[in-house]
């Protein structure tokens, strides 16, 4: 085991392995870029590009409330999480058992050139980063986890995503050098229509 943060791609591959038919996957920013690059898309993927930064968990909350029989995953960055921190309180107040939020914490605004966020150790005089898992715990999320090592995440993933929800998982990931923002995989109006249509099919 090394002390290095896990690679984002590896963290996302674990999700791909554990995603079941009928599960919804909302990705944004860096996670959207990786998800697109990892292969064939699923009708229940929602690539939230273009987005309003920070709103992926809120969008996922709406889906989870409207479709309580489905499991809804949302992948968010740490900068995005800081931009809409109140969503952690909103979600825990609604307490959807079917929502799993993953925060990919790399400490930087990756797609704008890797500037440190105000929450990262690099961006603070005391060099102590904000602990998102502790914030989620304090907000009352039912199950909260934090991983830095990829093997630990791989080993625990099944238990984490099947824990009582809402589930919050902070994954410490390494910034991707030179990474750019994701491109929209198609016209938004078509993607909105097909995603809504996919959600209208009852889950088996």
């Amino acid at each position: 085991m090394s002390d290095a943060a896990m690679p984002l791609r590896g963290a996302m591959e674990v999700l791909r392995e554990h995603r079941a038919p009928g599960d919804v996957m909302v990705t944004s920013m860096g996670s959207a870029r990786e998800w697109i690059a990892m292969g064939e898309s699923n009708p229940l993927d929602f690539i939230f590009v273009p987005s309003s930064m920070g709103q992926a968990p809120s969008l996922a909350l709406g889906i989870a409330l409207a479709q309580p029989a489905r499991r809804v995953f949302a992948c968010n960055g740490d900068g995005s999480t800081l931009m809409n921190l109140g969503a952690l309180a909103t979600i825990s107040a609604e307490s959807p058992a079917n929502l799993i939020l993953l925060v990919m914490d790399n400490g930087v605004y990756e797609v704008t050139g890797a500037q440190p966020t105000p929450g990262s150790a690099l961006g603070r005089p005391d060099k102590r980063g904000v602990d998102f898992a502790e914030i989620a715990r304090a907000c009352g999320w039912k199950s909260v986890y934090r991983f830095r090592d990829l093997e630990d995440w791989q080993e625990a993933a099944a238990d984490c995503i099947n824990a009582p929800g809402p589930v919050f998982i902070a994954l410490e990931v390494a910034p991707v050098p030179g990474a750019v923002g994701p491109k929209s995989p198609g016209p938004t109006i078509d993607r909105a229509r097909s995603f809504r249509s996919a959600l209208s099919v009852p889950k088996n």
Binding site: S52, G54, S58, G62, I63, A64, L65, A93
Partner: protein
């Protein structure tokens, strides 16, 4: 102007399923009646930008959400509503409280009067200004017209004095 009971009945009649809201001193008084109405769910968010995204998710999931906020929340939530209503073309209807429209005793010179309507125009949201309770039918008509056309709309509710 409206009681919570009147508003809840109106939303239920329109087929609204979820009311996503941040309260103010007028619309906040409607919350309990909305929450206690069969078929309506009140979703309280921390800040108005969240409301549009939650409503978008509800819409994708097959629900019929409505956003209920004050005009100051409209000012706060610009990027989120831009993304939802214009990038994704999701036809969310909103009911927005128009602070100080009926009087400015509490906040003389309140600039909500300067910016609210031009901002709704700038965001290309068709709105109906509601200044008396007798206009409840206009809210229904505007909602139904927007729903049929698949476009966003707004009922702008004058606040300040009943």
């Amino acid at each position: 102007m409206f009681t919570g009971e009147q508003i809840a009945a109106l939303f239920a009649e329109l087929g609204v399923t979820h009311v996503v809201t941040v309260p103010d001193s007028t619309i906040g008084k409607w919350g309990d009646d909305i929450a206690n109405t069969s078929g309506l769910r009140l979703v309280r968010v921390c800040r108005e930008g969240e409301a549009w995204a939650v409503a978008a998710g509800l819409y994708f999931g097959g629900a019929r959400p409505l956003v209920l906020i004050q005009c100051t929340g409209l000012f706060e939530s610009g990027d989120s509503l831009r993304n939802v209503l214009h990038d994704w073309k999701i036809p969310i209807f909103s009911v927005i409280g128009y602070r100080s429209f009926l009087n400015q005793d509490t906040l003389p010179g309140d600039t909500c009067l300067v910016f609210t309507e031009p901002l709704l125009d700038a965001w290309k949201i068709e709105y109906k200004l509601i200044t008396t309770a007798s206009q409840a039918g206009e809210i229904c008509d505007h909602y139904r017209a927007c729903f049929a056309a698949g476009k966003p709309g707004c009922a702008l509710i004058a606040e300040g004095k009943a």
